[in-house]
Subunit: 152 residues, 4 copies
């Protein structure tokens, strides 16, 4: 079993993005639960790796591929089996040009993942957003633009 280190947390997220399921399963338990914060349409607990991957695919579609996450730092408690990674997340809604500033169309927040590790794999993850980012990101996740037009 691999030790929980800062590097291993980074590798876990790289595996998620790799599209290689075997690689993912080296870091993520097949029954992992992952919570997206807030009360918007995509919030709540995703049960199982496939469900969570489905959510990530939705993010890609909603952002038209513009989603970017830049890691700021990672902390671990190897003894107890916890990690937190802090990131800056940026995403425009699909079709929205750069330079847009409405929170209904642009997400630009700092966020954290709290991960619970067991036997070398993530069994539970929970996202949170810093500052008032949960409010502004709820606008991004909503089906509307600032004028109430349904965009989804």
């Amino acid at each position: 079993m691999s030790e929980l280190t800062v590097e291993r947390v980074g590798e876990a997220f790289a595996a998620l993005g790799s599209g290689d399921r075997e690689k993912m399963l080296q870091y993520w338990d097949e029954n992992v639960r992952f919570e997206i914060p807030g009360n918007h349409a995509y919030a709540g607990w995703y049960e199982g790796l496939d469900s969570f991957l489905g959510f990530l695919k939705t993010v890609g579609e909603m952002s038209g591929g513009s989603y970017l996450a830049e890691n700021i730092t990672v902390m671990v408690n190897a003894e107890d089996g916890w990690s937190v990674d802090v990131n800056r997340d940026y995403a425009r809604r699909a079709g929205v040009p750069e330079g847009e500033t409405s929170p209904y169309l642009l997400m630009d927040v700092e966020a954290m993942h709290l991960l619970r590790w067991r036997d070398g794999r993530v069994v539970e993850g929970r996202g949170t957003i810093l500052g008032d980012g949960l409010t502004t990101s709820s606008l991004w996740w909503s089906p509307i633009a600032a004028d109430g037009t349904r965009t989804a």
Copy 2:
């Protein structure tokens, strides 16, 4: 063309619930726009009578038929072509027993519809919710229960 009266506003909502499209079109323009307030998954402008009827069907499904609206009063400005009806709205999420009090599962709010009339028919409608009901009803519209379990 029928005059805009308190009675006519009541008839317009009764027609919506009748399932009789010809009757509906006596009160609602085929191209009526209707705005559901807030930023939840079902918020924003519904364009056209069919789109709005689709929303009402969704309400029926999400509430498992428990949705109730009790009219409190109606006001009209016949000269300018506006009406407001004030209602108490009550709905449990489908499958939720009576007596539940969590705002994620029970909606119990006072709300208004602002309607714009032209040539005897509604061409635009906008819902609003009194007090802090927009916040609590957003929890009801959300896909989660209080513990984050996705219920939808």
Copy 3:
């Protein structure tokens, strides 16, 4: 006792802005209750005319005098003693220049007042905000700018 008309609703709000207490009391009951919608620091029921006037003074201070309300329409139900007035409300936080677009600093919403009249005077009023304006106006009422700096 004066009849409830569209004109009388307009006069009631003009009296509020006049600073003339005798004039106000021709339209507003001394014990009027008025509800500001939402859950921000200034939300909830203000009990009595003086309490409500205190709220209006706060609005003036927070907006540095930039608050503007433009009436769109008024509806009455004279028989039952109800009125609704629809308005466009615009306000920048004190010290914020024109042209600012952040919802933490600029309020630009359409809103309604639902008034209950008895014996020719308003005994209860409730504000609501159209669309997703309750969310964006909560940011305006908050003590922070978009970066979390406390401005109040």
Copy 4:
């Protein structure tokens, strides 16, 4: 300079609660900035230890001393100077009896502090709340009960 360890994070919070300013200053920089998440009246950045202590005093008053925080785990990255502590926070509004379940009166959330350490002391801290706790805790921080009565 003391090394950043799980124990030191615990000691830093114990010092905050000790009322002993000399002890606090062993862990917290006099110019520490601390961010309370959300957009309620007490949200945003508190600049300086005294400002942050003022916030903590407010929490004590608003909760009538019922505030409890139970630590779940702590993670550190000693090399980069970051820590996160995860806690369960519980508080009733002053005067509210045990057993109350309205989110306007009872806060019961899981939350994290992200701390930035420099030269052995905390120079910046940011709170976040897990799940949909930011929404429900905003109701707790609000001046109203569920019926809109102003309680503050």
